[in-house]
Amino acid sequence: MHGKYHVRTTINGEAVEFLCEPRQSLLECLRDILGLTGSKEGCNDGNCGACTVILDGRIVNSCLVLGAEADGADITTIEGVARGSRLHPVQRAFLEQAALQCGVCTPGLIVAAKALLEAEAQPSEERIRFWLANNLCRCTGYDKIVRAVQQAAHEMQEVNR
């Protein structure tokens, strides 16, 4: 039985079905089958977080999830973070704080930060740093990223007031 696996998911709010080999990771399915190339392959072993997506409400490394496991799941990728041309506050804050250089880690960091700010309105700096510990950035030194997340948290609170 070398067949493909039929997976039915919701990705960024839309019902999506695809066929994958059982050995293909969710990251490979997103990028190579569905053309959603925003999620990046960095280390491909769960250390760097560049492939972070939200799977049923939790951030995960999509390189450590099989596509087949995603059957029935609700997935948010970086492509689902902006509303059309309206950037998410986290995305705006990353631009304004210059929280990126090469950009490879950025999709994963933005997805992870969005998930944090949706769960906790006012995370401390320590909380932000621990939450994002699974997202490696070799350019910025992290301070600008943490500042961007703090700015986004502030803006999201203003909006909700």
Partner: protein
């Protein structure tokens, strides 16, 4: 990754049938160890059996009389987000939050941490200290064994082909008891223990009624140091008694020298971590 097939059984019986029919099959819980090992070629398989759709494997139930039932596939975040568990077993909730980062904790399970049988597994010394038992299903029926007997060598556990770790059971915390796992890592997070110590204590009017001490990353398997805990039974709670137990833990350690630390450094850490973990567990016990 090399080709393999995938199955997601809905019952323990179905999983056991699949595992028994495919001796090279691998069980998949959070996948944070297995998928890395399959990708790197360290492990090979023809069938990955995803156990996350089996109700018993997702069970997380605490009852003050019966204790804790922890399904083998329950991810770490469910453990530290469970209010009742956090109150009854704060050390377990804290240890579940030490493993990897947020993304890993969204997937990785304590059952998987145990089955992976790494000498440095962070949750295992604490499970041993808490007298947890493994509930195993197999073609011949079910069996229960103490966690300290589960790991047999680096990366190898006691499960035979067809067997599945279904759940872990932790007895209810005794009155005036406390527990703690401490590890040493050179960073603040996202690292593998150079050494670790998990302890539990039960106090009785300024004395230890009983204690259990187990170590991580200083032997081929997580190591229960029975004599270190037994030495505390009946002794007054004091720096001397805890220091003596810490020295017994150090003496039992059989570490190797590798990239994370020398054997000598690891032995030193065993004494320091055991003493500090005992102090923390005593402080918690006094509050209970």
């Amino acid at each position: 990754m090399k080709w393999f097939d995938y199955a997601a059984p809905r019952s323990v019986a179905e999983a056991v049938r699949l595992l028994a029919a495919h001796p090279a099959a691998r069980t998949l819980a959070g996948g944070t160890d297995l998928l890395v090992q399959l990708r790197s070629g360290r492990k090979e398989t023809d069938l990955v059996v995803d156990i996350k759709r089996i109700p018993e494997l997702n069970e997380l139930r605490y009852d003050p009389a019966a204790g804790l039932t922890l399904g083998a596939a329950v991810p770490c975040y469910r453990i530290y987000q469970h209010a009742g568990l956090r109150l009854a077993y704060p050390a377990l909730a804290e240890t579940a939050s030490l493993i990897g980062g947020t993304q890993i904790q969204g997937r990785a399970s304590v059952g998987g941490n145990l089955c992976n049988a790494s000498p440095s597994a962070d949750t295992v010394p604490l499970l041993i200290a808490l007298s947890a038992t493994c509930h195993i299903a197999g073609p011949q029926g079910t069996r229960a064994i103490p966690v300290e007997d589960f790991c047999v060598a680096p990366g190898r556990n006691i499960l035979t082909p067809g067997e599945l770790l279904v759940s872990l059971h932790v007895p209810p915390p005794a009155p005036h008891s406390g527990a703690r796992y401490l590890r040493f890592i050179p960073r603040n997070e996202m690292d593998i223990a150079v050494a670790g110590a998990g302890v539990s204590v039960t106090l009785d009017h300024g004395h230890f009624r009983s204690a259990r001490i187990a170590l991580a990353a200083v032997a081929p398997t997580p190591l229960l140091v029975r004599e270190a805990g037994d030495a505390l039974a009946g002794r007054p709670v004091s720096a001397e008694s805890m220091g003596a137990a810490a020295e017994l833990a150090k003496a039992a350690a059989r570490p190797i020298t590798d990239m994370r630390g020398t054997a000598e450094y690891r032995r030193h850490l065993c004494a320091v971590l055991t003493r500090r973990a005992l102090e923390a567990a005593v402080a918690q016990a006094k509050g209970n």
